[in-house]
């Protein structure tokens, strides 16, 4: 029995558990942005909105615009993309913009994208409703889409 190895093992196991717990709590959870967007007085877009519109995002053209940053080495990105494209077929008010993070590193830094998929949610007024990192939680995503695209049963 190697005592250094045993010590590393005794550190590695709780570290793994802590990261797993953190992922469970935070990954994919919607973080509200607190109504950032165009300044009500000056009409100046917030920093995030400048970066997003620079990518060709046009929030005024849809009830809800979802912008997804993805990388090639990211399995949940593909599942998330498929989920949003599926939602989009049923909700004409939903716009979806897909951004390759690696070819837009300036925007990645400006928007502080650390993980993929990272999603930004914008309403028609250009307000940033919130963001999420990691595969979005299906029930949160569906609720957000239904709340903003005026779906009627």
């Amino acid at each position: 029995m190697d005592s250094t190895g045993l010590l590393v093992l005794l550190v590695a196991l709780p570290v793994t558990a802590a990261v797993a717990w953190w992922l469970r709590v935070r990954s994919g959870a919607l973080r509200p942005a607190g109504g950032e967007g165009r300044d009500a007085v000056t009409g100046t877009p917030a920093e995030e909105l400048v970066a997003l519109t620079g990518l060709g995002v046009r929030p005024e053209e849809a009830d809800l615009t979802v912008v997804q940053f993805s990388t090639a080495f990211c399995a949940p990105c593909r599942a998330t993309r498929a989920r949003l494209q599926q939602l989009q077929r049923a909700r004409p008010g939903l716009a979806y913009v897909h951004v390759d993070a690696e070819s837009h590193l300036d925007e990645v830094r400006a928007l502080d994208v650390r993980r993929t998929p990272t999603l930004f949610y914008l309403d028609r007024a250009g307000r940033l409703l919130g963001r999420s990192s990691g595969a979005p939680r299906p029930e949160e995503l569906t609720a957000l889409v239904e709340a903003h695209t005026g779906v009627r049963e």
Binding site: D2, L9, A72, V113
Partner: protein, 157 residues
């Protein structure tokens, strides 16, 4: 339908140059990897870490489905499970094997070249990544990719 993890045109199938694998295979492989790395730490054995490095290398360079633990999964585990329900693309998995290989090579070199603390710490990092992947499906190597690209000098495509 075949119960092997050979892709046979899954729904929303990826293009031909982007093969997919049964998602349960890599999770199984991550558990085996974790067990091997725990054994390596307990024995303080650079040879065990080195063997795991070879396994990572095969997965990264020859493809996930040629990796030893994937063969083990196909022969021993998959026949006992139900049909394939979900598949995932191979590219992120191969990249993660490459990151695992870097840590395993560092770990093996540390142990075998007389720096056992370095060997144990590098092996410990590989273990955290493998265990996280096994338990939650989270791919630490894949996440590091964008963070590295962010801090490296701009070479925007």
């Amino acid at each position: 339908m075949s119960r092997s993890s050979v892709p046979v045109g899954a729904p929303g199938a990826a293009p031909v140059d982007d093969p997919v694998v049964d998602v349960r295979g890599p999770r199984f492989a991550a558990w085996v990897t974790s067990a091997v790395l725990v054994l390596a730490l307990l024995l303080g054995s650079g040879w065990v870490v080195g063997a795991q490095a070879v396994v990572f290398a095969v997965g990264a360079f020859a493809g996930i489905r040629r990796a030893p633990y994937a063969l083990l999964f196909r022969v021993l585990v998959a026949p006992r499970l139900g049909p394939v329900r979900e598949r995932e693309p191979e590219a992120p998995l191969r990249f993660a094997q490459l990151v695992g290989l870097l840590f395993a090579v560092t770990g093996a070199a540390g142990y075998l070249l007389g720096a056992p603390v370095l060997g144990a710490v590098a092996t410990g990092f590989a273990l955290v990544a493998a265990l996280l992947n096994a338990a939650t499906g989270f791919c630490l190597g894949c996440e590091l990719h964008l963070l590295l690209r962010r801090v490296l000098p701009a070479r925007t495509a």
